[in-house]
């Protein structure tokens, strides 16, 4: 180095591309009297003369961290600026409008698009867990293409109602049902509205709102962005089932207890244990036979964006393919997405947006439903041959239900294609010619979503080795729910929605006074149509089409529905010098779910903010160590109308029904089916919304030049008029088909905390870490309870969710203990659960059951993140955890059982963890007792990423970042046997397809 002036050039970018107009100055030059500075051009390029090689360049850009970079003798310095989330001018998307961060009064959290792009779970909702406070997400399982509650549960600030707790999800201004399969690279903003900030969504906002907007073009040259993520996933945990010897011993113990003949001899058990005769004494691990260890998943996205003064564009395509974990490859999900967001500036007054997007997905599954497959995986006895050495599959279970074949196309297939087409036209017209600051915005969105499902059920062949002849006798296998014949069900569902809104906006700044506001109206109409047809006895498996079926047994059905909403709403915000801030919102909603007279509701909200740091008396502190400090409070009334419609009417249902409630009967010597009517509900003419009264007290702060930022909130919600059915107090003999009634009352409260620290050293090391935490609790104030419920089962005054179970005092270890126990179930033996006589009546009865006020929904959730980047490397991690959750892990089954039950009481192992062997619905041990409730607290390494950016010196035309990433890598918990994040393990009916642990590698390339 030396004193010679030199020229430094380079490009300044952010995650999305070049930054135009970044200020670059030579540090100290202004003070020295000769400011040396420049700005980046249209392509983010700059060139600056520096006085010497030791100079330091200061890069500043609104909304981004200021960075000081020593020149260190270099002539090319490329820089990636990262946006500063707490800079007051950053724009945040909130309901129907945007706000600068400094103007916010509500409780709002957001996840940046950069962060979302690092999510490599197939269902991106799961990747949001642990990233911000107040958003409580549980990964309930990794079934490909599943975005239902079975796969993921979403709560904002916990549970506040006995009814539906799902938040409202709004994508590009229009309410929708899920965002799980949006392309991560298309998401620009992800915002969670938690308090009065949600009030503008009125009748549907009580559970909070998630707002998502997709990316749009920015002015500049075309930028191409390609990313690829390739993932290998396996189950976090696989239920370990008993082996043959364990199973045989267990089964014998049951038979002995029940007084049934023993199924296995000592010799049999010895043979199973030795494993020397895999044909006569097999030891089949059905999971191993059916499932593979890892499946492959890939996501590839390409986008091009840019624009000039007239037109800006963002165009992207995304391909996603997820294999299932069945060895057969019969399970998988594939999805294509295209998106084109175009903005046209017609003139100084009129802008137009035209957005088109399309999603097409296809999920392939075996013909046998997943619950049948999982039943076979769990209950099929290990003592049966899975696959003979010559490759033929064994009989396994009932009607040849070998899980390896069920989980393959041998059982047929279920192919579901889903398409979603969305067209959105927006316009904004500057009405400045009427009065300054006035503008009009319109939005018309048309949505069509369809599902097209073909379910073909096939039969297959399994074999039984006939010892006498030495031949493999073929046996026809089939799922008895489908029948021993080929059948086909074609179904189609189509949903159309039209959304229109008009919004008049106003913004005016007079001196230090800023006033903004809008009034708007929106109208949503939708209709859905479904159609379904079934035929059996198809002529061959090669013709899975309806025409190839027989006439006998054919059926078809279809349903259409329509609904509508009409809403009016508006908001006024005022602030003085961004120091005193106030927001009002008001909304009037109409819903066809309720009777005339109860149909419209009004939902007000108000929030206040006080930026103390802007006060003159803080001048000494501000800019010293305090960067910003703001107090906020809010109040709002919101609604929840997520209930079945038309409960104010008497409804009759015609035909069909369920196995338990057949809505038809058969008459005639030549039997003929007569569909019937039944009254499916007793009407409740008074039914109306649930109401939520939300309050929030919050503080936002930033210290040390925004290096340390944070916020904290305390919130309360009082939910009234909760819609519940009086199942708990109305006896069955009344035969009332109970409607929901506005009865319940729940109070909930909690606090949230977010902290983040980011800094960079002169040596080029940038690092950050932080965490968030949400603690919630709720209490039932009023609900329906049986007339004389004892204190130990009462719900009022306790949390919403609970288990009703028999309390126990461990297990009877010896006959002496049994004999000495004054209270026990008649016939109790050593090894049985020792139940507690709660009511003290000297017997163990149903009245001894108590409520345990915990549930699979955690009361505490937290995330802890961190990362650093140095030169071309960066590393980041996310730990996520929960507390206060319990789950039921109970198997009450015939057939095989999980291996952990082998650790049980036997005369030889009186200290076994679990009760003695028990069969299905066993009186002594199978009932739900605290023995089967497990603490589901965990902390999990949710994400760990290591990335390397190829230096511009190596490749100058593109910015390339290579990464490896792991998801759900390590879990620390107390359950061990199964994944703690699923909601329940109960036989083959819940806890089926576990969450996934995955390893990804990939690259992003920007041109």
């Amino acid at each position: 180095t030396g004193d010679l002036p030199a020229t430094v050039t380079g490009t300044v970018t952010d995650a999305d591309g070049p930054l135009i107009g970044v200020n670059i100055i030579v540090k100290g030059s202004a003070e020295a009297g000769g400011l040396v500075g420049t700005v980046t051009d249209f392509d983010g390029n700059y060139s600056i003369e520096v006085p010497n090689g030791d100079a330091v360049l200061v890069f500043t850009y609104t909304g981004y961290d200021t960075q000081e970079i020593p020149v260190d003798g270099r002539s090319v310095i490329d820089l990636v600026l990262s946006s500063n989330s707490e800079v007051l001018d950053e724009v945040v998307v909130i309901g129907y409008t945007t706000r600068k961060k400094g103007e916010l009064t509500g409780s709002v959290s957001s996840i940046s698009s950069e962060e979302i792009e690092t999510i490599s779970t197939g269902n991106i909702t799961k990747g949001m867990a642990g990233r911000v406070s107040g958003l409580i997400i549980n990964d309930r399982g990794g079934y490909p293409g599943d975005d239902s509650n079975n796969a993921v549960s979403i709560l904002i600030r916990g549970q506040a109602t006995l009814g539906n707790n799902s938040p409202l999800i709004v994508v590009d201004g229009v309410p929708t049902n899920s965002f799980s399969f949006l392309a991560p690279g298309d998401i620009e903003t992800f915002t969670v509205l938690k308090d009065a900030a949600a009030a503008i969504y009125g009748a549907r906002a009580a559970n909070g709102v998630i707002l998502i907007t997709t990316k749009r073009g920015k002015e500049g040259r075309p930028r191409l962005n390609f990313s690829t993520t390739n993932t290998f996933s396996g189950f976090t945990r696989v239920p370990d089932m008993m082996n043959s010897a364990q199973f045989a011993e267990y089964q014998n113990d049951i038979d002995a207890r029940e007084g049934n003949p023993l199924e296995f001899s000592e010799e049999d058990i010895e043979n199973y244990r030795s494993g020397n005769d895999p044909i006569n004494y097999p030891n089949t691990d059905w999971f191993d036979l059916t499932m593979k260890d890892l499946s492959f998943e890939t996501r590839n996205s390409l986008s091009v964006s840019g624009g000039g003064e007239g037109v800006k564009y963002f165009v992207s395509g995304n391909y996603f393919n997820q294999e299932g974990l069945y060895k057969s490859d019969a399970l998988g999900f594939e999805q294509y997405q295209l998106r084109s967001n175009i903005d046209v500036t017609l003139n100084d007054h009129i802008k137009i947006g035209v957005d088109l997007s399309g999603i097409q997905g296809q999920r392939n599954e075996p013909g046998a439903p997943s619950n049948v497959i999982h039943k076979a995986l769990q209950v099929t006895e290990p003592t049966r041959v899975g696959q003979y050495p010559n490759g033929l599959f064994g009989v396994a279970g009932e009607n040849g239900t070998n899980p390896a074949l069920l989980a393959s196309n041998a059982s047929g297939f279920q192919d579901r294609r889903n398409t979603e087409l969305r067209a959105r036209f927006t316009t904004s017209i500057d009405l400045g010619f009427i009065t300054d600051g006035l503008s009009l915005a319109g939005n018309a969105t048309f949505l069509q979503r369809s599902y097209d499902t073909k379910l073909f059920r096939d039969t297959w062949t399994v074999y039984n080795l006939n010892e006498t002849t030495g031949e493999y006798d073929p046996i026809n296998g089939f799922d008895f729910n489908a029948g021993n014949f080929l059948s086909l069900e074609d179904s189609f569902f189509k949903f159309n929605e039209e959304y229109y809104s008009a919004q008049l906006n106003y913004r005016k700044e007079i001196g230090k006074n800023t006033i903004t506001g809008f009034i708007a109206t929106e109208r949503i109409t939708n209709r859905s149509t479904s159609f379904e047809a079934y035929k059996r006895d198809l002529i061959s498996a090669d013709q899975p089409s309806l025409f190839a079926g027989a006439d006998e047994g054919q059926r078809s059905t279809g349903v259409s529905t329509e609904s509508a909403r009409l809403n009016y709403f508006g908001s006024v915000s005022y602030n003085y010098d961004r120091r005193y801030l106030v927001d009002f919102t008001l909304r009037r909603d109409g819903s066809s779910n309720f009777a005339q007279g109860n149909r419209f509701g009004t939902f007000p909200g108000v929030s206040l903010g006080w930026a103390i740091s802007e006060e003159p008396f803080m001048a000494g502190v501000k800019g010293n160590w305090l960067s910003s400090l703001k107090l906020r409070t809010s109040w709002a009334q919101l609604g929840n109308d997520r209930i079945a419609g038309f409960q104010f009417l008497t409804q009759y249902i015609y035909g069909g029904g369920t196995a338990g409630n057949r809505n038809y009967y058969i008459f005639g010597e030549n039997p003929t089916q007569y569909n019937s009517f039944f009254n499916s509900n007793t009407p409740n003419p008074d039914i109306t919304w649930e109401k939520a009264d939300n309050r929030n007290f919050g503080i936002n702060f930033a210290l040390f030049e925004y290096k340390l930022t944070g916020n904290a909130n305390y919130f309360t919600q009082s939910r009234t008029d909760i819609l519940i059915s009086r199942n708990a107090s109305v006896p069955d003999f009344t035969a009332l088909e109970l409607p929901q009634e506005n009865l319940g009352e729940v109070d909930s409260r909690g606090f949230e905390l977010e902290l983040a620290y980011r800094n960079s050293t002169a040596g080029g090391l940038t690092y950050n870490f932080g965490g968030n935490l949400t603690k919630t609790s709720n209490e039932v104030v009023y609900l329906d309870e049986p007339g004389d419920v004892p204190a130990w089962r009462q719900r009022e005054g306790y949390p919403i969710n609970s288990f009703v179970l028999y309390p126990s005092d461990g297990i009877f270890r010896t006959q002496e203990e049994v004999d000495a126990a004054e209270v026990k179930l008649p016939g109790t033996l050593p090894g049985d659960v020792r139940y507690i006589d709660t009511d003290g009546d000297g017997q163990i009865t149903g009245n001894d059951q108590v409520r345990r006020y915990t549930s699979p929904t955690p009361t505490l959730t937290y995330g802890f993140f961190g990362g650093f980047s140095f030169k071309n490397f960066d590393v980041n991690f996310l730990l996520q955890g929960q507390g206060g959750a319990d789950i039921e892990v109970r198997y009450d089954n015939e057939g095989n059982r999980p291996a952990f039950l082998a650790d049980r009481w036997t005369p030889e192992t009186p200290d076994g963890t679990y009760p003695r062997a028990f069969g299905l619905d066993d009186t002594y041990n199978a009932r739900l007792s605290d023995v089967w409730i497990r603490d589901a607290d965990f902390i999990r390494l949710k994400q760990l990423e290591v990335a390397y950016s190829i230096p511009a010196e190596t490749i100058s035309f593109a910015a390339i970042r290579l990464f490896v990433r792991g998801t759900n890598l390590v879990t620390i918990d107390k359950i061990k046997d199964v994944d703690p994040e699923q909601s329940r393990y109960y036989n083959f009916t819940s806890g089926l397809y576990a969450p996934l642990k995955s390893y990804s590698f990939g690259a992003t390339i920007q041109l």
Partner: protein, 535 residues
């Protein structure tokens, strides 16, 4: 709603729904297993292979909140009582009552029968129950006491008497087969009055009190009159039977002795899981592709008389323990599948190793643990899983029951001659020699006919209770097994057939508490209902 009560075809659909209250092959439709199997496994007729303990009451394990397979019974019957109450409270003021008075009268008669049927089943299971004939409103007080047993019986009889006047004369056959007829009402009345007159409801027996007692001096006369009223209708006649096969076939289609039945369709209905609830899948032996769920007990098999009319342990019966299935009465061969019997053209092999019905037969453990499967109700002409029996109804009332109801009432009235006449109509039809016994022995013969003639038709559970046969209900369930061994004593399919057992299958337990089911725990908690004796 206004539409439904303005068009009589739609009005009829409300009645059709309530028909689902009638019994069928399964104990109840809400529970996986018991959609397929019935009440027979709670009696000495049969034993359920998979979770026999779930009948609870056979082991003295039943509790108000642990009712096993009985859990839904209360709710199910009351559901249909509710729909009947709703209908009957609205129908008289409805437009159809003006426009179609005749059809409406018939529909009312059907509904009254269906409601009476539900109450009749409830009082058999629970004793006196809450009794009401108008629908509940959301705003009602739900603290309703249980009515006495006698009040319930009186209500049922009154309703059935009224239904008879509303219904058309003559049996309802052809397309109306399965609809309630006068005969159905009289059959129900006969059964209810016979039950009420029985020992269980005598105030002198335990349990007693208003919830269980029926105390009318003319109770046996009333029961006899009710049965006679149906016999005097002269609309039904016994189906002649020459062979066991004739007898078996009789149950596979509507016939002249069927008073009331629940029809089943040969089409696979559109309700999931339905086709395998029919007996061919649920009850056929495993080698024929069935599940053999209800295994007839060895106890029951040994109750079958010999063809000469003697019990197997009677002197001179000719019973041979080494050839125990030889020379039994006709209904044994028509109703039971056993080692060596022919089924669907093949001989059944219950023996190990490798017999078609043996425990090691391919597939899961559907082998008959007692050594028997049922034959009654099975249609050997169909392919299981692919076809259903064409028009096999589930019998709800048959003429032989009425004859036996009458014979039993006559016996208690001391009219033994007439009693013998009617019991012999039933016994003689299947070729048994005429019964000539008197006194206790005659009662035994009447009970025997009831046991065998009404096998698997849902009577035995209640009959053993109303006769207070505590010993029978306490009796352990036995089974037999078969093996083939060669000269070296090894299992060998070419060896000699030998019988093992009788072997203990289930250790049963009975106490007076178990004459009735407990009232479900939640109902007691919600409505403060009085719990049953002993629970």
């Amino acid at each position: 709603e206004a539409d439904i009560y303005s068009n009589v075809d739609l009005t009829q659909s409300l009645v059709d729904y309530t028909y689902n209250v009638t019994e069928n092959w399964g104990l109840n439709v809400d529970v996986w297993w018991t959609r397929r199997i019935g009440i027979e496994n709670a009696s000495d007729e049969a034993w359920f292979h998979f979770v026999p303990q779930n009948y609870r009451i056979t082991r003295g394990q039943i509790q108000p909140n642990n009712m096993g397979f009985w859990t839904q019974k209360w709710r199910q019957y009351y559901r249909y009582i509710g729909t009947a109450n709703d209908f009957l409270s609205k129908i008289d003021q409805s437009p159809v009552a003006q426009s179609d008075p005749e059809r409406v009268a018939t529909l009312k008669g059907e509904m009254k029968y269906l409601r009476a049927n539900a109450y009749a089943r409830l009082i058999n299971l629970f004793g006196g129950v809450p009794l009401f004939d108008t629908p509940f409103e959301l705003t009602d007080d739900f603290n309703v006491p249980r009515a006495s047993y006698q009040e319930c019986v009186d209500f049922i009889v009154r309703e059935l008497d009224e239904a008879v006047t509303l219904l058309p004369e003559g049996p309802r056959n052809g397309v109306e087969f399965g609809r309630v007829s006068r005969g159905a009402c009289l059959a129900m009345k006969s059964r209810v009055l016979l039950y009420a007159a029985s020992e269980l409801h005598d105030p002198s027996t335990v349990p007693n009190g208003p919830l269980y007692d029926y105390n009318k001096p003319d109770k046996w006369q009333d029961a006899a009159d009710a049965a006679k009223a149906l016999i005097d209708l002269d609309q039904y006649s016994l189906v002649p039977v020459e062979t066991a096969e004739d007898y078996q076939q009789m149950f596979l289609s509507p016939n002249s002795e069927l008073i009331f039945a629940r029809p089943f369709s040969p089409d696979f209905p559109n309700t999931p899981n339905d086709f395998n609830t029919l007996p061919d899948k649920a009850q056929s032996p495993v080698g024929a592709g069935g599940w053999g769920l209800s295994n007839p007990t060895h106890n029951f098999v040994q109750d079958f008389k010999m063809a000469n009319g003697l019990r197997i342990d009677d002197a001179g019966s000719g019973y041979d323990d080494d050839d125990l299935y030889a020379n039994r009465e006709l209904r044994f061969y028509a109703n039971i599948l056993y080692q060596g019997a022919s089924f669907k053209g093949a001989e059944l092999e219950y023996w190990s190793p490798g017999g078609t019905e043996s425990r090691e037969a391919p597939g899961p453990n559907h082998y008959a643990a007692t050594g028997y499967n049922q034959r009654k109700f099975l249609d050997e002409s169909i392919v299981i899983d692919q076809e259903q029996s064409a028009n096999r109804p589930y019998p709800l009332a048959r003429l032989p029951e009425i004859y036996l109801n009458y014979a039993e009432a006559l016996y208690h009235l001391g009219r033994e001659d007439e009693a013998r006449t009617y019991v012999n109509l039933v016994a003689g039809r299947v070729g048994l020699p005429a019964i000539t016994t008197t006194g206790e022995a005659l009662l035994e013969d009447i009970r025997y006919e009831r046991q065998m003639e009404l096998f698997l038709e849902g009577h035995r559970f209640f009959d053993t209770r109303r006769w207070m046969m505590a010993d029978k209900m306490n009796e352990d369930i036995m089974g037999v097994q078969w093996e083939k061994r060669n000269a070296a004593g090894e299992l060998d399919p070419d060896g000699t057939l030998t019988r093992l057992g009788p072997l203990l299958i289930e250790d049963r337990m009975f106490a007076p508490t178990f004459y009735y089911l407990p009232i479900p725990f939640a109902e007691v908690e919600k409505a403060g209902l009085e719990q049953n004796f002993g629970y």
